[in-house]
């Protein structure tokens, strides 16, 4: 086993004092940035990048990578406690994490998030260790038609996210899609629905919307005393009480495994990434769960599924970065710049040219994941204390924190305005029972959906058959159709069965 030997050498690098320290700083920084509303790993990596100049490149990249997957862990904290997504990949964690916190099970939700993240991360690193160069080939199967099919598949999961009224759910999704068309058109370069504001040229950032729709809307709810008082666990916060119990695990483990594989593969695809992975993982979990009615009201597997997926995706994103030399996400794009800065050229040759770096980095991911899960489990009790804060202080401080996060994302006051506006809209939607999740999902997917559709048709010069003559695209589209049709048939059968009784 050549790989094992290389991995052991990698551990020799990763377990040096210097690397361990870098990893620790990285993951702690990652958790903080992940937990801050709105700010995601790409900001963190970019900010810390200059600090790593002139250091040993392996140490530096270990630290930067730590920020990346650390942020995936951290995002769950603010999602669960204050219903404010810490970063875009943590949006789905709000949906069930926060209701759990309202029921006094914040500890269990966070424990499950950490452990699911750990499992998702570690399994992915194992896959990565043994299969990275081979998997990189799979990334190349995806051209524009396949991306289009994948996005359709992602959108088809919306049918599982609608609340009481399917009409309202679909309308929410369509508004999300409409918002995704704002910005400069890829093909003509002309602004659409920008009203002359250059801030809108690059489109409406989805996290800016999610901060308002989830975060601020929930604060209004909280201030109005409508959301059921936030409360800490009734029982004493002992270490054991905090962890998810046996029943939770029984519900969660299949979803963690599915989330891991889904997350890893979607994370590998350039442009798709952790956010989309977490959405699809959540919707699949809801569909396959034995108790779908509990989703959105505090199902622990609704936390496990997206969290395992987003961590797996953050590892998956390293596949195209290292093995192909193309960045798969905003964060890996920053990492690519960093690698070049250190004169390490990622690409198929890096495994031969800089083995101590590649394997040191891989080994450090194992180490970092262990550090993260240990740190988070230790501090969950402290995080949960946040919920003891009197409501007026909590609302006031979280409100300004969300605004500061929204500003920092793009360094723009305009974005703060968007967040505030969607806060009000989100609250009204909540009162009218429009589900917010389809809106943000569509906003994430819409951009790629339209672009890949138009790219495919440019490639085929207007021939729609391009979507059905390519095998992978055909399979994905078939899965999407099945995802919509099968539950519909099942509902119909159930309905007619109950009628006949």
């Amino acid at each position: 086993m050549e790989t094992l030997e290389l991995l052991i050498n990698g551990f020799a690098v990763a377990l040096q004092g210097q690397s361990l320290l870098a990893c620790l700083i990285g993951v702690i920084g990652g958790v903080i940035i992940g937990a801050l509303p709105g700010l995601g790993p790409s900001t963190g990596v970019a900010v810390l990048l200059p600090l790593t100049f002139g250091r040993n490149p392996t140490t530096a990249i270990i630290m930067l990578a730590g920020i990346y997957y650390g942020a995936m862990f951290g995002g769950a904290i603010s999602s669960t406690l204050i219903n404010t997504p810490g970063d875009s990949a943590a949006v789905m964690t709000c949906v069930d994490g926060h209701p759990l916190a309202q029921q006094g099970r914040a500890g269990a939700a966070l424990g499950m998030a950490s452990l699911a993240s750990f499992i998702g991360g570690t399994i992915s690193i194992i896959i990565f260790t043994f299969l990275a160069p081979k998997l990189a080939e799979a990334v190349l199967w995806f051209g524009p038609p396949e991306y289009f099919a994948l996005m359709v598949m992602g959108l088809s999961t919306v049918s599982g996210l609608t609340g009481k009224s399917p009409f309202k759910g679909m309308a929410s999704m369509l508004v999300g899609l409409a918002l995704s068309t704002v910005g400069v058109d890829l093909v003509t370069g002309k602004p659409r629905f920008c009203f002359g504001r250059p801030e809108l040229f690059s489109g409406i950032e989805f996290i800016t919307v999610a901060l308002g729709l989830f975060g601020i809307a929930e604060l209004i709810n909280l201030a109005a005393g409508e959301s059921g008082q936030l409360k800490r666990t009734e029982v004493k916060l002992s270490f054991r009480n905090m962890l998810p119990n046996k029943e939770d695990w029984g519900h969660s483990w299949p979803h963690i495994l599915r989330g891991t594989f889904l997350g890893f593969f979607i994370g590998m695809l350039p442009g798709a990434g952790g956010t989309i992975a977490s959405f699809i993982s959540y919707s699949m979990a809801k569909r396959r769960s034995k108790r779908p009615e509990l989703f959105g009201k505090g199902a622990i597997e609704g936390v496990a599924a997206p969290e395992s997926a987003n961590n797996a995706a953050s590892v998956g994103a390293f596949v195209p970065l290292l093995a192909l030399g193309v960045p798969g996400s905003a964060t890996t794009a920053v990492l690519l710049g960093a690698l070049m800065m250190f004169n390490l050229r990622p690409g198929p040759l890096i495994f031969q040219r800089a083995p101590e770096f590649v394997w040191g980095l891989i080994a450090s991911m194992y180490v970092g994941n262990v550090m993260l899960v240990a740190l988070l489990l230790l501090f969950i009790a402290a995080f949960v204390r946040v919920l003891d804060t009197p409501v007026h202080l909590l609302v006031a401080s979280v409100f300004v924190l969300i605004l500061a996060g929204s500003f920092s994302l793009n360094v723009g006051i305009f974005e703060v305005g968007i967040t505030v506006a969607f806060g009000a809209i989100g609250y009204v939607m909540k009162r009218l029972e429009y589900p917010p999740a389809p809106l943000v999902l569509a906003l994430v997917l819409g951009h790629m959906l339209e672009n890949s559709f138009r790219q495919s048709l440019i490639m085929s010069r207007g021939d729609m058959s391009i979507f059905f003559t390519r095998p992978l695209s055909l399979i994905l589209l078939a899965v999407a159709v099945a995802a919509v049709v099968i539950p519909a048939i099942r509902n119909y059968q159930r309905a007619s069965a109950s009628r006949s009784i």
Binding site: P144, F201, G347
Partner: protein, 322 residues
């Protein structure tokens, strides 16, 4: 009316006196904001941070440069932010293709006329790439195939950026028509090429080198007058008989309009020293495969106008501009 004109003149004089004169002997007496109109981690950001580091290490200015990212609108937001600070020498910005392309294609509020050129630092040429498994081994193969089948070959590139311009230049020079497929970024276009979803794509040497070395992509030609030192086997378009296909991304530094002459001189001198420094050439230029070329403020001003005309000409050709 006359009164207000006089008032303005006096005001201008007072401001001018405050601004110029002995006070400027000390320029810069506070840190200079270095605006990157893109997100942290992009090409311009990496360059800005590398510049900042060399400035600091080699003490090229008595005060530090502080990088500030102002992303949004393909540069429109950041450039508008800088342009608003008319006459302020404590703010400078990086220049890359979007400096020209965004004002031309989208409705950007400012364009190159709202800035004072400081220095040009280097240029990124473009390589025409194919997948090694493709039947096209040389530029001639490509052009022959394109002549046989107009719109038959797909070219991947970033939206309306330099990739589109290069495609347009080659189409015109060779009298052919490609099927241009726009992507969101260079990485996506390159992935599509590696996967065989498009026939050709354009890339900077820095982006392409990994793939070239690994044998996953082949460069057919380079869009500058002379072959690149690092890629001596890649012919230029003019060698292949298309001297019109010359295009590159110009990288440099600008300040807002009406910055005092003295400040421009100080900055210009500092960037000249940057260009001459070993660390800069080795740690940035070589690693990112940017072709070093220094322009002083005056030459850079001319180069900016020349680039702008070049973009306009191609955009008109391909119908983006009327």
């Amino acid at each position: 009316m006359r009164k207000s004109v006089t008032l303005l003149a006096v005001l201008g004089l007072v401001l001018g006196l405050c601004g110029s004169g002995p006070a400027w002997a000390a320029y810069p007496d506070k840190p200079i904001t270095f605006v990157v109109p893109f997100s942290a981690g992009g090409g311009s950001d990496v360059m800005a941070r590398a510049i900042t580091k060399v400035f600091q290490d080699e003490k090229l200015l008595p005060q530090p440069l502080v990088v500030e990212n102002r992303p949004g609108g393909s540069g429109a937001v950041g450039y508008a932010y800088v342009a608003r600070r008319v006459g302020d020498p404590y703010i400078i910005a990086t220049v890359s293709s979007s400096f020209w392309t965004t004002p031309l294609t989208a409705e950007s509020p400012v364009n190159y006329e709202d800035f004072t050129p400081i220095s040009g630092l280097g240029l990124d040429p473009f390589l025409l790439m194919v997948n090694p498994k493709s039947p096209y081994k040389t530029l001639e193969d490509v052009i022959k195939a394109a002549k046989e089948k107009p719109m038959g070959l797909t070219v991947g590139g970033t939206s309306l950026s330099d990739d589109r311009v290069c495609t347009g230049l080659l189409e015109k020079a060779a009298g052919i028509k490609f099927n241009y497929v726009p992507f969101e970024g260079g990485g996506e276009a390159m992935t599509a090429l590696l996967g065989g979803h498009v026939d050709l794509c354009w890339a900077n040497p820095g982006e392409a080198l990994n793939q070239l070395e690994a044998g996953r992509a082949v460069a057919l030609a380079v869009s500058v007058e002379e072959r690149l030192a690092q890629l001596p086997d890649v012919p230029t378009f003019s060698e292949a008989g298309y001297p019109q296909v010359v295009h590159y991304q110009l990288r440099g530094i600008v300040a807002p309009k009406n910055v005092p002459e003295e400040a421009v001189k100080v900055l210009e001198a500092a960037f000249k020293k940057l260009h001459e420094s070993q660390a800069w050439q080795k740690d940035y230029m070589e690693r990112f495969m940017v072709t070093p070329r220094y322009y002083n403020a005056k030459d850079f001003a001319n180069a900016i106008v020349e680039r702008n005309n070049a973009y306009i000409a191609v955009y008109k050709e391909i119908g983006v501009l009327k």
